[in-house]
């Protein structure tokens, strides 16, 4: 049974359709990626899932039951993109306050805060104020506050922005850990390399509509262009074949595109017949980043800034 099911969600604003008929399911214990350019409707969608907004139409089923924004809050941990903390409040008190707002009792909240502070080596921070923390530190604190009640559904909007690689890895490990302990993680981001690395399942939204839904592998397969890279031991005599086109060649490394109706073995056969030794042969799958840009650019969306990540 999926943890979260969305059916035909709609949210219209005066000037735009922020979310226009989106449905998908999220499996229990999975790490789910919600992708989309700025202004695609991700934040509106997340705000509906967290009960901040009511959908105009459609239904949300959380854990098998219709989502009840007042009582189901304890099941959800949401770290919004626009996040912050009370600057003048002591960190320990702040964590306690926010945990109590989720619905934990004081003693319960205290126990969980202690556990997480110890785990992420934050015990000494208790009496500090947020304004004394660096951006990365307050980011870490924000993460702890989001997950400390071990919610069934954790929603993280751009969780790694502002974190150095060490802390980013620390948080990433915690996310894996939470998923293993049965939490489901929704992960909204622009950073494609993280999506490929972390997510099991992704949904791409653009202009308020869902344009892609599947596992990372499956999507890559669907969008593959039959490109292969071949490493030869020497220079091949002839590279013209009816089975493939050479797109790129660097000395004895070739990138080829197989024509329709042919298979990878046809390429290998071509070179084997020439007596050239094949040292490596692998399929080039498109990166999620490429698929993404491809899909979004074709829909003339209002993409303002799309992070192009160097891989």
């Amino acid at each position: 049974m999926p943890i979260l099911e969305l059916y035909n969600l709609k949210k219209y604003y005066a000037t735009q359709k922020a979310v226009d008929d989106i449905s998908f399911n999220i499996e229990r214990g999975s790490i789910f990626g919600l992708l989309g350019p700025n202004g695609a409707g991700k934040t509106t969608l997340l705000r509906m899932i967290t009960g901040i907004f009511y959908p105009d139409e459609g239904s949300i089923i959380l854990d098998g039951k219709t989502f009840d924004p007042i009582n189901d809050i304890i099941k959800i941990g949401y770290m919004p993109e626009e996040r912050g903390l009370y600057k003048k409040m002591k960190i320990g008190e702040q964590a306690l306050y926010l945990a109590q707002l989720k619905g934990l009792s004081k003693a319960d909240a205290m126990k969980k805060i202690k556990f997480w502070f110890e785990r992420l080596e934050m015990q000494t921070w208790w009496n500090k104020k947020v304004e004394d923390l660096s951006k990365g530190m307050s980011q870490k604190l924000q993460f702890v506050i989001t997950v400390l009640h071990e919610p069934k559904l954790i929603i993280l909007d751009e969780p790694f922005s502002g974190l150095d690689p060490i802390n980013a890895n620390l948080i990433k490990d915690e996310i894996y850990g939470l998923a293993q302990r049965g939490s489901t993680v929704i992960f909204s981001t622009h950073r494609m390399e993280q999506v490929e690395e972390i997510c099991d399942h992704i949904v791409l939204v653009n202009l308020g509509r869902k344009i892609l839904d599947g596992t990372v592998q499956q999507i890559k397969q669907n969008f593959k262009e039959n490109k292969f890279s071949i490493q030869l031991s020497g220079i091949a005599a002839g590279t013209i074949s009816s089975a493939f086109d050479v797109i790129d060649s660097k000395a004895n490394k070739l990138t080829v595109k197989i024509k329709d109706g042919f298979k990878s073995n046809d390429v290998l056969q071509h070179f084997i017949q020439q007596g050239v030794n094949i040292e490596a042969f692998s399929e080039i799958l498109p990166s999620i980043n490429d698929i993404f840009i491809n899909l979004v650019e074709n829909t003339n969306s209002r993409t303002r800034s799309f992070q192009n990540v160097e891989l």
Binding site: I52, I73, P80, L85, Y86, Q100
Partner: protein, 442 residues
């Protein structure tokens, strides 16, 4: 409900635990009293005794010039101008008055006071008053009017006022009512501003520090707003209780240390607005039946109504201030312009209140005391004049109902603006947009 109290507790504790809270709560009355003390000190000590030698050769004053704390007159015999001048330069006296034997002072000759240093304006006025008073009496006596006749002619008859319904509308009560009306009206005015602005700043802080969405994911925006309003209201209540205790305590201490000072204090024109009231208090306090005037005021009614209008007014305005705070982005100057439509009715209310204190039954006063945006301030001024007399019961009940309706209305509208506003970043929000958020169907 539980979450509202959680939010309210945080709002209350973070404010009360701050050092500035203690500073303003305890410091402010101390500063005000320090100010009072200084004014009293200067007004008491400013009258360095001016000693004046009088050579009354015509024997007009017959040695009768009243000595006050500031001016002492000494009558000297057989002095000439030159000998007087010598005494004054020798600092025996500050100045001298020489009246020649052939003076026509009782007609229109002038008196000349010669001094070494300049005599201050207040001392001059004093001297003039004393001399003129004595001269007036001498002139009347020269017309063969005896002192007794003079006194009885000067006697004032008092005019007493009563309403047809029969209640005795004494001047005493009017004076006390006016003072109470002013005081409670101004108190509510101050409360609305101080704590309304505090609510607004709190909301702005949440928005600017980007914590709003974190909190709203576990608390309904309405709960957050109400928690904030209740928490800050509690801070206000505590602060007021402390102030009242300190003020009364200090007043008691000062009265013990300087027994005559309270009387003098009432004459000081400290706040122009309360001068009239203070004036009324002064005339009233001179009268032994002042306590009667106090007794005629229905204190239970006033205190009960004060609490009601204080709470109603605070709830009504603080939710509006919260809505404005939610619409403001980083720039505090936006707050200024957005606040204007809220502060206007408060200032308008104060203007009506100053009229209502004098004329509690005028049309504008009745309107102001019924209209929920002005009623907390204006109604207090009218209630002080007595409930069935100045304010009929139906008006009081209607005003209260309208106020309750008013704050439910503003809270409802403000909650809708607040809900949208706190999650809106980077965009300057206009009143037109806020209007749209408030009245679109959700």
């Amino acid at each position: 409900m539980n979450k509202i109290s959680l939010v309210a507790r945080r709002e209350f504790l973070t404010r009360v635990q701050k050092k500035t809270f203690l500073l303003t709560t305890i410091g402010l009355p101390l500063i005000i009293f320090g100010f009072y003390a200084m004014m009293i000190y200067f007004s008491v000590s400013s009258g360095t005794n001016t000693k004046i030698a009088v050579a009354d050769n015509a024997n007009i004053f017959k040695g009768n010039l009243e000595n006050t704390g500031e001016v002492t007159f000494s009558f000297l015999q057989n002095e000439t101008k030159a000998s007087l001048e010598k005494k004054v330069t020798a600092k025996e006296y500050n100045g001298y008055i020489f009246i020649p034997a052939d003076t026509k002072l009782l007609l229109n000759d002038t008196i000349k006071l010669v001094s070494t240093d300049k005599i201050g304006l207040i001392a001059r006025g004093n001297i003039q008053d004393i001399i003129n008073k004595q001269l007036e009496q001498e002139r009347l006596l020269s017309l063969h009017i005896s002192k007794e006749q003079l006194d009885s002619a000067r006697n004032d008859n008092s005019v007493s006022f009563a309403t047809i319904s029969g209640s005795n509308d004494s001047e005493l009560k009017e004076g006390v009512s006016m003072a109470v009306g002013y005081a409670s009206g101004f108190l509510i005015y101050i409360i609305l501003f101080i704590y309304g602005a505090m609510v607004m700043r709190g909301v702005m802080e949440e928005k600017v520090s980007r914590i709003a969405e974190v909190i709203v994911s576990s608390v309904k925006p309405f709960q957050l707003m109400m928690g904030k309003i209740f928490g800050i209201g509690a801070v206000g209540l505590v602060q007021f209780v402390i102030w009242i205790v300190i003020v009364f305590g200090l007043q008691f201490v000062i009265a013990l240390l300087f027994p005559d000072i309270l009387h003098q204090m009432q004459g000081q024109p400290i706040q122009p607005a309360s001068m009239q009231a203070a004036e009324a208090m002064k005339t009233a306090s001179a009268d032994p039946t002042f306590l009667q005037g106090l007794a005629q005021v229905n204190w239970m009614m006033i205190i009960g109504c004060f609490i009601f209008y204080f709470l109603g007014g605070y709830l009504l305005y603080s939710s509006l201030f919260a809505a404005v705070g939610s619409a403001v982005n980083e720039d505090p100057q936006d707050a200024q312009s957005l606040m204007l439509p809220i502060t206007m009715p408060i200032i308008f209310a104060i203007v009506i209140m100053t009229r209502a204190v004098n004329d509690p039954s005028s049309g504008i006063a009745v309107f102001g005391s019924l209209f929920p945006l002005t009623s907390p301030i204006v109604m207090m001024a009218r209630i002080a004049h007595g409930v069935p007399d100045a304010v009929p019961y139906w008006q009081l009940i209607l005003s209260m109902l309208l106020l309750v309706g008013g704050f439910i209305g503003t809270t409802w509208v403000a909650a809708k603006i607040y809900r949208t506003g706190i999650l809106m970043y980077g965009k300057k929000i206009t009143w037109k947009e806020m209007w749209k958020w408030a009245f679109r169907k959700s």
